[in-house]
Every structure is written in structure tokens, then in C-alpha cells.
């Protein structure tokens, strides 16, 4: 400026510089405007809706333990104030009269026990806890001196056995001793807003109906299933059969104990062939195989004194794709041996299959696997024998395989809840490349289109999945040939999975319709197919008939969530 021919007046310099500042401001505000458009118009995310929003103003007056609701606000557990009847035996004038009258008003009383309680010399004895208002009215009308009521809190589960294992239950003192109630016990006492679960009651009901049907059809001793969103880890439904009514969970007979067992989180099972997808994913991710590489499956594979055979031998060389499609034990064992036991073990550990998972319910099953990991172990583990994990772990690992390769904890409370955020932040990690995940999706689609998973097909839906059939371990050791665990795990739509569905049927017996077969492909796959069919109508997912099954197109679309 000094070198300018004509020296500028100071006030003109000021004006020039003021203009410069104005341009500067425009530039920065322009960035803000551009960023707004960039974020809100070009980066829109599908809206993951929780239509239900807990607010203080609509929730009931807080007494004690907080409500639990599903993702749409459907009440799953609540606390009621109920009267409990107690007596002060010292005030009772005529024990015999009181016993007779009480028995008449409330027939469920045991006369002998009443007499014993009322004639004791204590000043406080519970007679009947948590009675209904009409029972209270009847008893009060008797006008017996020495009988008193005290209001107590009572946990009530309006959906009864629909979510039995998931919710768990509380003891008489309202302490959570199973399920969500146990895991979030402290939280439920502390908080003043309902705990919102990821569960969709409609899907839960539908899954339970389908599993019940399967149990009846195949006279199985039990079944379990889960529906999960692999992108977020949200558990949408989780059913374990047989189940129980959490309003009345106690019962110490063998059958009740069996019914309270949560197969999805506490039960650990040898999953069988579903593990083949982990082995192949490991080999693809570690680049020890290519999809076209062929393996000899013509002869049973001998390792030491053991012989590994195929269920339905193809008696030819199979490539990696075909090994998964036809579920060849020999082939997958060869892949595992080639990659080495160490590689497989690390991969399974990354997938969270070798450690006890942290979850949202009280019941956690520890996986079991051989301590010594030699060639024979590597070979059998490659097809899911000799290693037992919980369905929870299996589904979590499968979700990672199909969602692009990120292991996400499966969560039961909505992801924006600080409880869930902590778990997600701690546990989420990438376990394989995006490329491996994409290849696996293609392989799984092929299993359904042309392989053992054909029974899951639903017209208009792109499904991928894998069967699993394992012989149950006998109490005496060794495998029981006739006692099978038949399972199927599916992801759909397979080009961009929104749902992972798992179904397992315990000791199904083959029927005429299945030609006596009780394998995963015959028993569990059709159940998953039915679940998908029903889900689509509940969630409003339209079948896409333009999709040609022979030619899987990998399209990405923005789909709305639930």
C-alpha cells in the first residue's frame, strides 16, 4: 500500500479493509450454510425410530421398581401395589372360628397351616401375600379381629409367558433374580423413566408361535430362536421353549427348572455346520484360500485314529463355494488344517466365540472348547464339533459376518440409552474386512439358492443362511446319533442384511413330511422361512418379485428401520 503511486487516505484504507472483512464473514457463513445442506440433505440416514418416548408426564407415579416396556412402549413389566394379609395371633379371639371363616372366604387356604399360624404366640405372621382387591374385600368383611393388611409392591408381567426368559422375574422382596430384572436390578430401582427394551412384542409373539408349532410338529423337547438387527445389535425377539409364566415362576420340580432354563443365553450347544461359515470366513479373511480353490472330498479324511466323513458325500473335488453349499465336513476340515489351528482360534476369539459374553440378562453361558488345540481339534471345530457356544454368541458372530465385518454386542435396551452406549463403546470392533463380509453374504445366498438351506426360501425375499445339525453329547460321553440339535441361521435381505434370524430345535423327530429327516435343513430352515414371511407382513416389507433368484444383485437401498 505504501508503494502505491498515490497514497490512499486512511479512511479509504479502512473502507477497503472493512470490505475485506465483510467478504471474510460471507465466506465463513457460506461454509455453515453449505455444511447444513451437506449434513441434512446429502447425508440423511434411515430413520431408526423408537416411536415410543418415555417421558415423566405420562409415566405412572413412581413407586419402587420402574416399568419395563418394549420398543413401542408396550408394557412388559410393572409394579403394582397389592395388599398382603397378615395376622397378629395374640389378638385373635377364637382361632377355630377364624380358620373356618377364612377357609370359606378363600378356599385356597390350608386349614391345618392356618390353625398352626394363628395359634402361635408371635405377634406377626404372614397369611397371604399379594392378594387381589376383591379378596381383600371378602376377607375384610369377615370382621375378624387380629387380621391386618399391609400394602406391598408386587411385580406384574402383563404379557405372561411371552417374554419369560428375557424379562426374568423378581423374588417376593422385589429383587430381580433372573433375566433383565436381574441384570438391570439396580438400574430399575434407581431410574424414574421406564426401561425401554429393543424387543418388538409383535415379532416376539410371532417367533414364539412358529417355534411352538415346530416343537409340536417334530415332538421336540424344546426350541429357541432370536431375531436381531445386525447393523445395530438390537435384539428384536428372543424366545426359549419351554417357557414359564414370570408372574408365578417358582416351582422346584424338574419340569419347572427345565422351563426356566434360557437356551439363548445360558445354554451352550455344539452348533455343528453353522461353524463352517466362520472357518471359511477366517480362511478368506486371512487369504489362505480363494473362492475357486478346490479340495478333495472323495475320501473320508483320516487324522490319527479319527475319520471325518460327509453326511451326504459328493465324492468329488469341491471348491470353497461348494464346500459351504453342500456342507462338506471333509472340505472345511481341509481348509482349516491348511490355514492352521492358530489362525482359526484367533478368528473365533475375535468373533467372541471363546469368551463369556457380557449381555443384558442375568443368565450367561460360558463357551467350552478343548484346551489342547491339535489337528484333530482344528478339524472338528471347523465344522462346529467339540466347541459349544450359546446361541447369543453364534448370532452375534453371524451378524458380524454379514454386517460388513464389525462385531457388535447384542443389546436389549435401546441403543441411545447410556446403559447400551457403554456396552457398545466397550465391545464394538472390526473383526474382518468388508470384502470378506461381502463374499460371505454371496456364499450364504448360494447356500439358500442351491444348497442345503433351500427350505428357507420365501418368494420375493433375498435370504442367505446356513444349516446346522449337531448330534447331542450323551451324558456318558460320545455323540447320540438320534438326539439332534437342528438349527438354521439366516440373514435377510442378504445383499444388505437388516435382520439375522436364528432358530434351533432340540431333539426333533423326523416326520413323514420330512421323510424322516430331522436335520437343520429340514426342520429349522422352514421355521425361519415362516418367520420371515410373517415378519414381512408385520413390518411392512414388501416382497420384491423383480428379484431373480438365479442372479443375485447387490443393490443397496435405504430401507426404513422398524
Amino acid at each position: 500500500m505504501v508503494s502505491a503511486k498515490k497514497r490512499k487516505k486512511p479512511i479509504d484504507i479502512m473502507r477497503d479493509r472493512l470490505l475485506f472483512v465483510a467478504l471474510f464473514c460471507c465466506f465463513f457463513y457460506g461454509i455453515v450454510a453449505w455444511r447444513l445442506i451437506d449434513v441434512a440433505v446429502f447425508n440423511t440416514k434411515p430413520r431408526v425410530e423408537y416411536a415410543y418416548r418415555p417421558t415423566k408426564s405420562v409415566s405412572s407415579v413412581k413407586f419402587g421398581r420402574m416399568d419395563v416396556v418394549d420398543r413401542h412402549g408396550v408394557l412388559l413389566a410393572t409394579t403394582l401395589q397389592t395388599p398382603s394379609l397378615y395376622a397378629n395371633p395374640r389378638q385373635i379371639l377364637d382361632v377355630e372360628e377364624a380358620v373356618t371363616k377364612l377357609k370359606k372366604a378363600e378356599p385356597s387356604f390350608d386349614k391345618k397351616e392356618l390353625r398352626k399360624k394363628l395359634s402361635s404366640d408371635r405377634s406377626f405372621v404372614w397369611l397371604y401375600r399379594n392378594i387381589t382387591p376383591s379378596q381383600q374385600y371378602k376377607i375384610n368383611r369377615l370382621g375378624i379381629v387380629g387380621l391386618h393388611f399391609q400394602n406391598e409392591e408386587h411385580r406384574f408381567y402383563p404379557k405372561e409367558s411371552l417374554l419369560s426368559h428375557l424379562l426374568g422375574f423378581t423374588n417376593i422382596d422385589n429383587k430381580g433374580i433372573a433375566g433383565i430384572e436381574q441384570f438391570y436390578d439396580e438400574e430399575l430401582r434407581r431410574r424414574d423413566l421406564p426401561l425401554v427394551l429393543t424387543i418388538d412384542t409383535r415379532l416376539q409373539h410371532m417367533l414364539r408361535q412358529e417355534l411352538l408349532k415346530a416343537v409340536n410338529e417334530f415332538t421336540a423337547i424344546g426350541a429357541s430362536g432370536m431375531i436381531v438387527n445386525p447393523k445395530t445389535g438390537e435384539v428384536l425377539a428372543m424366545v426359549s421353549l419351554p417357557d414359564f409364566n414370570p408372574n408365578n415362576p417358582t416351582g422346584s420340580d424338574q419340569e419347572s427348572i427345565f422351563a426356566r432354563f434360557n437356551r439363548n443365553t445360558l445354554g451352550i450347544y455344539e452348533m455343528g455346520s453353522t461353524f463352517k461359515m466362520f472357518t471359511i470366513a477366517a480362511a478368506l479373511d486371512r487369504k489362505t484360500v480363494t473362492l475357486e480353490k478346490q479340495y478333495d472330498t472323495t475320501q473320508p479324511l483320516r487324522i490319527g485314529k479319527y475319520l471325518i466323513r460327509d453326511f451326504k458325500p459328493k465324492n468329488k473335488w469341491l471348491n470353497v463355494k461348494e464346500i459351504l453349499k453342500f456342507s462338506s465336513n471333509i472340505g472345511v476340515a481341509r481348509i482349516a488344517l491348511e490355514m492352521g489351528g492358530g489362525n482359526l482360534k484367533v478368528f473365533l476369539k475375535d468373533l467372541g466365540l471363546l469368551d463369556a459374553p457380557l449381555m443384558g440378562v442375568g443368565e450367561v453361558g460360558l463357551p467350552t472348547f478343548p484346551k489342547r488345540w491339535g489337528d484333530i481339534q482344528t478339524a472338528t471345530i471347523s465344522y462346529g464339533h467339540g466347541i459349544a457356544v450359546s446361541p447369543y454368541q453364534l448370532i452375534r458372530a453371524v451378524s458380524a459376518i454379514v454386517n460388513g465385518g464389525v462385531l457388535k454386542p447384542l443389546i436389549f435396551v435401546r441403543p441411545d440409552d447410556p446403559l447400551a452406549r457403554q456396552i457398545i463403546a466397550d465391545q464394538e470392533k472390526r473383526v474382518m474386512s468388508e470384502k470378506t463380509s461381502e463374499r460371505m453374504r454371496k456364499l450364504l445366498a448360494d447356500v439358500v439358492e442351491n444348497g442345503t438351506g433351500g427350505k428357507v426360501k420365501v418368494p420375493g425375499f433375498r435370504i442367505g443362511g446356513k444349516t446346522g445339525t449337531a448330534e447331542k453329547v450323551k451324558a456318558s460321553g460320545g455323540y447320540a446319533k438320534k438326539a439332534l440339535l437342528s438349527s438354521f441361521v439366516a440373514a435377510f435381505p442378504i445383499d444388505d442384511p437388516q435382520y439375522v434370524i436364528f432358530v434351533m430345535v432340540d431333539e426333533p423327530k423326523g416326520t413323514k413330511d420330512t421323510f424322516g429327516y430331522a436335520t437343520g435343513g429340514w426342520v429349522a430352515a422352514p421355521v425361519v422361512g415362516n418367520v420371515i414371511k410373517k415378519m414381512s407382513s408385520v413390518l411392512g416389507i414388501a416382497p420384491d418379485h423383480t428379484f431373480s433368484p438365479k442372479q443375485i444383485q447387490y443393490r443397496r437401498k435405504n430401507r426404513s428401520g422398524i
Partner: protein, 372 residues
Amino acid sequence: MQNNKFVTRNDQSVLGRWWWTVDHWTLMALASIVSIGILLIMAASPPIAERLGLVPFYFVKKQAFLFLPGFLMILLLSLLKPLQIRRLATLSFLAFLVLMVATLFFGVEIKGARRWLSIGGFSLQVSEFLKPAFFVVTAWMFAEQKKNPYFPGNAISIALFLIVITLLMAQPDLGMTMVVTAVWGTQFFISGLPLIWVWILGSMGILGLISAYLFFPHVQSRIDRFLEPGSGDTYQIEKSLEAFQQGGFFGRGPGEGRVKEILPDAYADFIFPVAGEEFGIILCLLIVGLYIFILLRGFNRLIVKDDTFSILAGVGLLMQLGIQAFINMASSLHLIPTKGMTLPFISYGGSSFLALCFSVGMILSFTRRRHD
């Protein structure tokens, strides 16, 4: 005909002259921003009030209660002449400087910083009021230096600047320090600072930022989290961006937003995402437009003036408003690290609102058309 008018052109009363010389466009833009502000506080504050166990419209009422004193202040200040403003600002600057020192000793500590002074039941963020007064005083000093080269205006201005930022850093309040530095730098620049000094001071500013990063742990953690979203808790900013995404162009509709239920600061520092979620970026763009309009309109009125003091003071006050709004909006959009900074005239906050009325009253006075 003229009698029908609200105020006639030849009305020589104080208010009459005010009405014909004050900038109507700026007044209109301000009124729009304040109206949007009420709308957004009505949208954003009830969930927070509920969480605190207050009646839903507690904060709305509290804010609305300040409107009358705020507007009176704007009117009265804009009636004054630049000379009167200068005297008033100088006196308030000295008074607030004393209160700033008092804040360091008697202030209420919130989240590790002493910024609030409790006077007779009202808590006051003194620095909010010190700031505009300071810009008027420095403008005066720069202007005197121009008028009379032997008057050490620039030196006094630098000294005052150092005192003010020392007090601010002692609180500590890095956000405010940055605003003060940027505005003061702009004033210095416009007043004709030789370009070599522009470069020197500019690099000193950058050095200052780097040393703030090195010596203030909370600054460091904020910047680290900005640069590496995975490294710590970036919950607020994630939710903020999500709100804009959920809102899209036209928003989810009034009352349909969720971010206000999650973010504790939704009615103050994070009110912009509430606007984005419920009313769409169409409203956000309108807000951006209104601020830049006020800035440019103000500059346009100032650039024709011959009074160096008015130009410098007016630009300083306008820049303060503009920078503050920019920092707020940019941090909620993850363009810059989050800074505790309110969105002028929109965010909830008594001190901030009254201090802004103080600034705007003076701006309107400086931008009035004068023929004297």
C-alpha cells in the same frame, strides 16, 4: 395525509428523529431472530424444565420476562449519540473490569470455571457485558491514535486487551478469549495496522492457540475429540448431527424432535440442532441468512461514515455478534470443536440476552444516519 402517519418525516421530537434515522432493516432482522428464538426456546426447554422438576414453560417465561428491559435498553442506547455511547461504555468498562476481578474471588464455580457472579439473587456473567464495552473503548483508542499520532492509543488498546484476556483466561474461558481476540484483531486490522504487523499478530494468535492446547487439559481433550471422534465422549456432537439428519429439509415438525430430550444443553448451546430437527434446515438457513444480513447491513451503513470511531466500534460490536453466532452454529455442525457459546438472541440465557441488547443498542446508535 401526513397526519395519518405513525411518525411524520418532519417530526423533530427525539423519537421521531430516531425513527427516521435508525436502520429499519436491521430492526426487522433482529425482530425476526428474537421471534425465532422464542419459538425455539418454547420447543427446546420444556423437556429440560421437566427433567429439573419445573413447570414446562419455566424457561420460556423466565426469558420472556427479560424482553421488556432488553428492548428498553436497546431503545435508550440507540437514542444516544456516539459521544454519549463512548462515555457510557468507558464507565461500564471500568465497572465491569472491577466485577471481573471480583468474579475471580467471589464467583460461583461451575464445571471447573469461575464465570458467574451472584448479585442480589441474580447470577451474572460479567464477561458478557465487559466484552461490548471493551470493544467500544478500544475503538476509541484506535480512533484517537489515527486523529493524533502522538496519542498512544494503540499502546493503550494493546494493554487493555492484555488485561482483559488475562482475566478471561484466569476464569478460564477460552471461547470468550477467542472471540475477544478475533474482534479486537479485526478492529486493529481495519484501523490500518501495517500488513507486516497483521502477519506478526496473526502468527502470535496461532501460537496462542497452540499453547492453549498444550497447557489447558480441557481444551486439549475437546480438540482431541474433535480431530478423532473415536477417542472420547463425542455424544453431544453425534446427537447434534443426527438431529440435523433426522430433520432433513423441512424438519420433523414442531414438538417432534428428540435431541432436546437427550442433550442437557438443548435450550442453550445446542439449540441450533433443535431448530434443524423440528423445523428443518430451511429454518437453519434462514437463521444463518438473518445473521449475515445484520452483519452486511451494518457494514454497509458504517462504510459511508467519516467518523473513524463509529466505524471501528460498530464493526467490533457487529463482529462480536457474528463470530459468536458462527462459533455456535459451526460447533453444532462439527465444523469446529465444541465451545460453550450461545446463539445470539436465540439461546436461553439472561446474561447473554441482556448483554446482546447492550451491544445491539450501541450498534443501532452507530449505524444511525447522522448529518451532524
